[in-house]
């Protein structure tokens, strides 16, 4: 339990996974956000993770950090909807190219990883408390 890096590492994992859940929520919320031109259509968000060494003395032990939230460059879906008030001159609207099923899978994966991090913290806390009560 040296200096309790487990809390920093699992905490960084929880922060990263909750950022992933946020991007999934944002992507799912904007499935139906159509626009009148391709350039301003919503781009699916994708968090970019990188491992980050917590303690230079232990270079093999790393937490995770969200380096940036990237906008995916997939082309928006062009749909012919002349009745839509947002349609352009030719009657087309542009919907973001988001696969809701892939987003749900991403969400479940993030949720499982978050649960694993919570379990790490609980076990680490329990062991640290047990260590504190040695001899009592």
């Amino acid at each position: 339990m040296t200096s309790l890096h487990i809390f920093d590492i699992a905490g960084s994992g929880m922060a990263a996974q909750s950022m992933r859940l946020n991007t999934v929520a944002s992507n799912l919320a904007n499935v139906g956000s159509v626009t009148g031109d391709a350039a301003s259509a919503y781009k699916p968000l994708e968090p970019v993770f990188a491992s980050e060494v917590q303690d230079p003395a232990q270079p093999g032990v790393a937490g995770v950090r969200v380096t940036r939230v990237a906008e995916s460059d997939v082309e928006p879906i062009k749909r012919y909807e002349p009745g839509n008030p947002l349609a352009d001159d030719q009657g087309y609207v542009y919907a973001p190219n988001i696969d809701p099923i892939a987003q749900m899978v991403n969400m479940i994966s993030a949720s499982r990883a978050y649960q694993a991090d919570v379990e790490m913290i609980n076990t680490g806390k329990e062991l640290a408390l047990a260590t504190l009560s040695v001899g009592r």
């Binding site: 339990m1 694993a116 790490m120 076990t123 062991l127 047990a130 260590t131 040695v134 001899g135």
Partner: protein, 43 residues
């Protein structure tokens, strides 16, 4: 499967194993401390 080299199940299992081993070591240390305390205080 997804190009990731981390096997989550394996890591989970080895985490649980490490926690149990830590607990076992802690039990031994705790027993030793208690024994010494009994020897010192005599009660």
């Amino acid at each position: 499967l997804d190009g990731n080299t981390v096997d989550a199940e394996y890591e989970h299992a080895s985490f649980a194993r490490a926690a149990v081993e830590y607990r076992a070591s802690l039990n031994f240390v705790d027993g030793r401390v208690r024994k010494l305390m009994t020897a010192i205080t005599g009660s």
